[in-house]
């Protein structure tokens, strides 16, 4: 079970006064009816729920500023929320917190193809950013699986990736600037053209700080010309080790595919039962996609074919049409849904060096047997970002705890292999307690110093990222007035 801090009783006692104060500065944006605030009690980590004190849905940066200023003045904790798709509990509130949701702030502010940028309000969904610019031949590269629903604000908070980030990078590599509102209501613009601000890279530290340093209301994003075309191949192997070795060889050959996805036997079986994409019966498969004009695609695939054939695959399947391309991707894209049909699951996203793939997969198999819980593996092989899916039955008492314990062991394994706890989903509440597996006290202290500067009172989404004992101590000291903004 993941612990949450106790709510501030003084704040709870002052609920009516707080809501009245919020209504003063955001007249028709405050939700306080318990039947309605329940909607905001959790995100995609749905095993953990807690209704907030109130919810505010501002329409402008100025309104966000006024609401934060009010909360700051009254000592009320705040939890920002994009679309609530976080798999790590990033937008889960406590009972004393006000959720500030960005859903009403979804406008496109500027499209500048000549500068290859677009400026949007951060409540806008990821995919709809691409939709806004694709008519002019551009797209926004970071493409998390949840892109139909997730908000740019959440992408920035979690530094989201996606299948295509092997070539194009993650959110932080495609973010040029932000308008940020600090916990005390101060508004500041960070970043610059080419993503370069005049001094320290504050933009770079905001991205991935899980909404703990400020609320980003506007973002300037890099957009790229749409490639002429793309084509995937599917390569089937009789072992995960061989598939892993093939990934390394492809990277070594100098080709840079736009995506390399891996699925193991259990995942393939579940996906076939669910979507009937026609995947081969095998221990492991890779889906490799390359981009360019048709002759360029042919040239790249020729190189990939030569490398793959040297590993004697069960099958090397090239797409000959749009429909075949779709079918090659179909299984991978419905993998999570397919696993969900088998039962409840926890999805992790520990990342490891690509060279450690075979060893880590083997060790995950050992752990799975030890705990008696099935684990299926699907992931972005090109960058080592794994997604072990731990199947369990939520109706069996104790199984969630067992699944979480297995998950923690898998993440420890990732750290030991030279990787990290999370490659995409962020720490949220889910991996707080594992932070000490990866970082020393000095390392965590250095990160917390940054929050001390941006939010000296530790009011903004403070129960996330850091082990609770550390954030609780910070909050305690903040209340004693021991921390000051310079």
């Amino acid at each position: 079970m993941i612990q949450m801090p106790e709510p501030d009783t003084a704040v709870l006692a002052n609920r009516a006064g707080i809501i009245a104060a919020l209504r003063q500065v955001a007249p028709d944006a405050v939700i306080d009816d318990p039947a309605e605030t329940r909607v905001y009690e959790c995100d995609a980590l749905s095993a953990y729920r807690c209704a907030p004190l109130a919810v505010v849905l501002p329409r402008s940066t100025e309104e966000v500023s006024a609401v934060l200023g009010t909360c700051h003045r009254l000592g009320v904790p705040v939890v920002p929320r994009g679309a609530g798709t976080s798999l790590a509990g990033g937008s889960m509130p406590t009972a004393d917190a006000v959720v500030i949701g960005l859903a009403r702030m979804n406008r496109v502010l500027e499209i500048a193809p000549e500068d290859r940028l677009v400026r949007v309000q951060t409540g806008r969904t990821n995919l709809s950013v691409t939709t806004a610019v694709e008519g002019q031949g551009f797209f926004f590269a970071p493409d998390p699986s949840s892109q139909l629903a997730c908000a740019i604000g959440g992408n920035i908070a979690m530094n989201s990736g996606g299948a295509h980030c092997l070539k194009y990078g993650v959110t932080t590599n495609n973010l040029l600037g932000v308008r940020l509102v600090l916990m005390d209501g101060t508004i500041v613009d960070l970043g610059g053209p080419s993503g370069e601000g005049p001094s320290l890279d504050l933009l770079g530290v905001i991205c991935g700080a899980e909404g703990q340093l400020g609320i980003v209301t506007e973002a300037t994003l890099r957009i790229l010309p749409k490639p002429a075309g793309a084509r995937p191949v599917l390569v089937a192997f009789d072992s995960s080790e061989t598939a892993g070795a093939c990934v390394a060889a492809i990277i070594r050959s100098g080709v840079l595919p736009v995506a390399i996805e891996f699925m193991d036997g259990p995942c393939i079986a579940a996906t076939e039962a669910h979507s009937g994409a026609g995947y081969p019966d095998c221990e492991a498969l890779l889906i490799i996609e390359v981009e360019g004009s048709d002759p360029e695609i042919d040239e790249q695939l020729g190189l990939i074919r030569a490398v793959a054939q040297s590993f004697d695959p069960i099958e090397f399947r090239e797409s000959q049409s749009e429909d075949e391309s779709r079918r090659i991707w179909l299984g991978r894209k419905s993998a999570f849904g397919a696993m969900g049909q088998l039962g409840d699951y926890i999805c992790l996203d520990g990342t490891i060096p690509v060279s450690s793939l075979p060893a880590v997969l083997a060790e995950i198999g050992v752990l799975s047997k030890r705990y008696g819980l099935a684990v299926a593996n699907v992931f972005h092989a090109g960058d080592g970002n794994m997604h072990p899916l731990i199947l369990y039955d939520a109706n069996t008492p104790g199984e969630l705890d067992k699944a979480e314990a297995l998950g923690a062991d898998i993440l420890r394994l990732c750290v030991r292999a030279g990787g990290c706890l999370t490659g995409e989903h962020g720490v949220g509440i889910e991996k707080r307690d594992l932070m000490r597996e990866q970082y020393s006290s000095a390392d965590l202290e250095a990160q917390m110093r940054v929050k001390d500067v941006f939010d000296p009172g530790w009011l903004l989404n403070a129960a996330k990222v850091f082990p609770l004992d550390l954030s609780a101590e910070r909050k305690r000291l903040a209340r004693l007035g021991a921390h000051h903004a310079s």
Binding site: A112, E114, D115, N159, G161, C165, G169, T172, N173, L182, I187, V188, G192, P193, S194, E196, G197, S199, L200, D201, L202, L203, G204, V205, G208, P225, K226, I251, R252, G254, V255, L256, G292, S293, P295, E296, I352, P353, H380, D383, G384, G418, G419, C420, L421, G423, E424, V427, Q438, Y439, S440, A442, D443, A446, Q447, R449, V450, V453, F454, S486
Partner: protein, 346 residues
């Protein structure tokens, strides 16, 4: 002072009583930098890990940039972001200054290739952030904060970075008839195409310069297509020489102060109209380098970005930094370096 280990460095910083300048090869100082007692980082040398198949290099900060580039080249790899390289330059200095050349437009800047850092802060504490993997959202990204921090928050000791394969083929096109202002439109057209241009700059005499890299067949097709696309501007030549070394290393010695402007390409023409002819442009017109008489300040129209004096006597930046950003930065410096040991950095 030339420590040869992280522990020795940490002890030196803990005992320091006067401002220090963290120095590699001293090849990238801006005006006002490098005035403290020299803390020579070149004693921290050597490669910790190199895995070409994972595009990963872990290297100590005092290692010479030249030796890193040679080692990578021997394995058919490179630093994709093309940092400026001068005699004595260290890999630590590359990331401390976020030195990024023409291929930034395609593969990102130095900070985008940096996966992990170890450093010693002003308290003498050894701090580590990030790791060896590209996908890493575990806690705050202090790697980005340290990149480009120019020695003001800590002394980088070890860097984990992502390498890139050297493309098998390369071709450069030049449009010599275009002056700086005229070049912007041509560079913009090229960068707005799906031809995956990996260099878009301008040099006096050479005109607009565009680079296409990749597999050989692909380079041929794309170069032909790009030539067709640009032929409406003026004559397009294939260039035999390599202008990209000059573009990555920046202008040579000259009279007056060097100024560096970062802007939106669409705002470059208005800036250029207000300035003397530039020494060079890069990043599709998003980077302008020019000289002004010593001590002079340019009068610039309003634009998104900044202009900084990078050679000469006194530091200068326009527009002046906003007070909130200054306050946040001062707060970070105060916490990473409470005694002002790294004040010699500026």
């Amino acid at each position: 002072m030339r420590p040869e280990s992280e522990a020795e460095l940490a002890a030196l910083i803990r005992q320091a009583e006067r401002p220090l300048s963290i120095t590699g090869g001293a090849t990238r100082h801006h005006p006002g930098e490098g005035h403290g007692a020299r803390l020579d980082m070149t004693g921290l040398q050597g490669v910790t890990l190199f895995e070409p198949a994972a595009l990963t290099l872990v290297v100590r900060a005092g290692t010479s940039l030249a030796s890193v580039e040679k080692m990578l080249a021997d394995e058919g790899q490179m630093l994709g972001f093309e940092p400026a390289c001068h005699p004595g330059s260290t890999i630590g200095g590359v990331f401390a200054t976020n030195s990024s050349g023409p291929r930034r437009i395609q593969l990102g800047a130095a900070r985008d290739a940096l996966l992990g850092v170890r450093l010693v802060d002003g308290n003498g504490e050894i701090i580590s952030n990030g790791g060896r993997v590209m996908k890493n959202v575990t806690g705050y990204d202090l790697v980005k904060l340290m990149a480009g921090s120019r020695g003001r928050l800590g002394a980088l000791t070890e860097l984990s970075l992502r390498t890139a394969p050297v493309p098998p083929a390369s071709c450069t096109l030049a449009l010599p008839a275009l002056d700086a202002i005229g070049a912007i439109a041509a560079l913009t057209t090229a960068l707005g195409s799906p031809l995956d241009v990996s260099g878009a700059g301008w040099l006096p005499g050479s005109g607009a310069l565009l680079r296409i890299e990749g597999l050989s067949g692909s380079v041929q097709t794309r170069t032909a297509e790009l030539t067709r696309l640009l032929s409406g501007f003026c004559e397009v030549h294939v260039l035999d020489s390599d202008p990209w070394q000059q573009l990555r290393n920046g202008p040579q010695e000259g009279e007056g102060d060097l100024w560096r402007i970062v802007c939106r390409p669409s705002e470059a023409p208005a800036l250029l109209a207000a300035l003397p002819a530039p020494e060079m442009m890069d990043w599709g017109g998003g980077l302008i380098l020019l000289r002004l008489p010593a001590g002079e300040l340019p009068e610039l129209p309003k634009f998104w970005g900044h202009a900084r004096r990078i050679s000469g006597a006194a530091p200068a930046i326009l527009p002046a930094p906003d007070p909130v950003t200054s306050r946040l930065e001062a707060g970070l410096r105060q916490r990473f370096d409470p005694r002002g040991i790294f004040a010699g950095a500026e």
